[in-house]
């Protein structure tokens, strides 16, 4: 299958500080859920920020559908079809749910089409219709995450990158987030996910990527990552995955 996104040997860091990413490599295939795991400080979130243009790539390149993304701003990369949901604070707390959804379609020029897509999203996620006129900041953590993820679907992107969507959520709600990801892949959206809870992330993913010290240690089918004894030992807390 043709690769949708190729990240080749990139280095990146914050401001003038040292590089957090040190030659990270990644291949994204369409229609799959990809999960990046690794210890704290491995550069997982940094990798997503570099891909979406929030951080300047110092070396290496990001190729999306054959086009180089290095040096583009986040809004330009979004228009190419890559959407990023940051860890926490992805919403506008004093805007209503409907207004947040409208912001999700900010780059769409056709207002009627935007409203039609918002209605589609609300039909798919009834909780958002129920809370349509409520401020996003007044919703529960799970509802906020649902909104943040559903909002990305408005522009029908090719790739949605999620930075720890399960952070701070109850286990039952976490599974709902992964169910939403499956809804998204069914719609043709490819998911690139960073997950601190490596076991849960890999169990719900098709493809696993292990990152450590800013480098890609292993890439392969999620079942292979789960069953690899070294990875189990180092990143999955022994043989819990078995």
């Amino acid at each position: 299958m043709t690769d949708l996104l190729q990240v080749t040997g990139i280095t990146a860091g914050y401001g003038d500080g040292p590089s957090i990413l040190d030659g990270a490599t990644l291949t994204i295939e369409p229609g799959k859920v990809h999960c990046i795991i690794g210890p704290n400080g491995a550069g997982k979130s940094t990798l997503l920020k570099a891909i979406c243009g929030m951080l300047k790539i110092r070396e290496g390149e990001v190729i999306f559908k054959g086009e180089r993304l290095n040096g583009l701003r986040p809004d330009q990369i979004l228009r190419k079809g890559i959407c990023f949901v940051p860890q926490e604070n992805a919403l506008f707390p004093k805007m209503t749910v409907r207004e947040n959804l409208r912001m999700g379609g900010y780059i769409l020029d056709d207002k009627d089409e935007l409203e039609r897509r918002i209605d589609e999203i609300m039909e798919r996620f009834p909780i958002l219709r129920e809370r349509a006129n409520q401020h996003a900041g007044n919703m529960s953590g799970g509802q906020q995450q649902t909104l943040a993820m559903a909002r990305t679907m408005i522009i029908k992107p090719d790739i949605v990158m999620l930075d720890e969507p399960s952070l701070g959520l109850a286990p039952k709600i976490v599974q709902e987030m992964f169910d939403i990801m499956r809804i998204m892949t069914a719609e043709g959206i490819t998911i690139l996910l960073v997950e601190q809870n490596a076991l849960t992330g890999l169990k719900n993913a098709d493809w696993g990527v292990v990152l450590d010290l800013g480098r890609t240690l292993f890439e392969g089918p999620a079942v292979d990552v789960l069953s690899d004894p070294r990875i189990q030992e180092l990143y999955l807390g022994g043989n819990k995955a078995a």
Binding site: R73, F84, F92, P93, Y106
Partner: protein
């Protein structure tokens, strides 16, 4: 009773003008986190535009309002590009912006003083000294016009912020700059435009101020504390809060002036600033500051 209503009306009329004066300051802070200490100095610059247009060509200050707004918005764009844009990526941006805006205020005051001297000025169209009488109650026409025009401009700003695509971008950038950028908002352009609008509001307020108050270049030092009290009480960055605070404090100041003494009237704003910072630093509509 009629005395009470009289004082209330005078307070409300003053509140309308102060609300417009504070709105631009609040908008700029909300979007860019710049405490623009030069805002009142730019209001004075707007007042001079109206004053000279009236003096030289007999142009009514209300007619010169859009021109002053446009002239000041161009000044705002130049200031942003020359002074603030290059500092935006600095780690000490907020601290730097206070020093920079203080410097800009000094430069504007110096330039105005050099060009127009420190003589007190006031624009005097006919309605500025006129009044409408309803029974025992009088409403100064100048203040009434200034208050109504201010409210009209604030309502227009509110409509733009609430319903236009650009308004969504401004509100989103104010609430969560990073998320706005990730959803396709060009936050640098929004910052530039917001700064220009904020300074345009200063220019518009200046034309109204020109026939409501007497002014001279150094007058802005008095106004900065008054405007800061409105913005802090309303909640830094909340335009609605600033408008409510303007009416609230203006009415209180009017009553203080009527019942205690006019010298205490201005003190109301300064006392309010102290009390708010001690009791509720986030103001009426601001977010509680996080302890770090």
């Amino acid at each position: 009773m009629s005395n009470f209503i009289q004082v209330l009306i005078l307070g409300l009329a003053l509140g309308g003008v102060l609300a417009l004066m504070g709105s631009g300051l609040s908008l700029v802070f909300g979007v860019m986190r710049i405490v623009n200490l030069a805002h009142p100095a730019l209001i004075i610059a707007g007042a001079y535009v109206a004053y000279w247009a009236f003096k030289l060509w007999g142009v009514d200050p209300i007619v010169s309002l859009p021109f002053a707004a446009i002239i000041l918005s161009i000044v705002g764009i130049l200031l942003y590009k020359l002074v603030f844009e290059r500092e935006a990526k600095s780690a000490k941006y907020s601290e730097m912006s206070v020093l920079l805006t203080f410097s800009v205020a000094m430069c504007v005051e110096g330039a105005l003083g050099s060009a127009f001297t420190n003589t007190q000025r006031v624009t005097s169209p006919g309605y500025a000294t006129d009044a409408i009488f309803i029974g025992d109650i009088f409403i100064p026409t100048g203040q009434l016009y200034a208050g109504l025009i201010s409210l009209g401009l604030i309502a227009l700003l509110a409509l733009v912020l609430k319903f236009s695509r650009f308004g969504y971008a401004i509100r989103a950038t104010t609430q969560n700059r990073e998320a706005a950028e990730l959803l396709g908002v060009n936050v640098n352009l929004v910052s530039l435009a917001s700064f220009a609008i904020g300074i345009a509001l200063a220019g518009a307020a200046g034309t109204l101020v020109s026939f409501v108050f007497s002014f001279f270049p150094a007058k802005h030092w008095e106004w900065i504390a008054i405007l800061m009290s409105l913005v802090v009480l309303g909640g830094m960055g909340s335009i609605l809060g600033t408008v409510i605070a303007a009416f609230l404090l203006s009415v209180i100041a009017a009553f203080v002036g009527a019942w205690i003494g006019s010298t205490w009237s201005t003190m109301t704003f300064f006392l309010a600033l102290f009390v708010i910072l001690l009791v509720r630093p986030q103001g009426l509509f601001g977010e509680k500051p996080e302890l770090t």
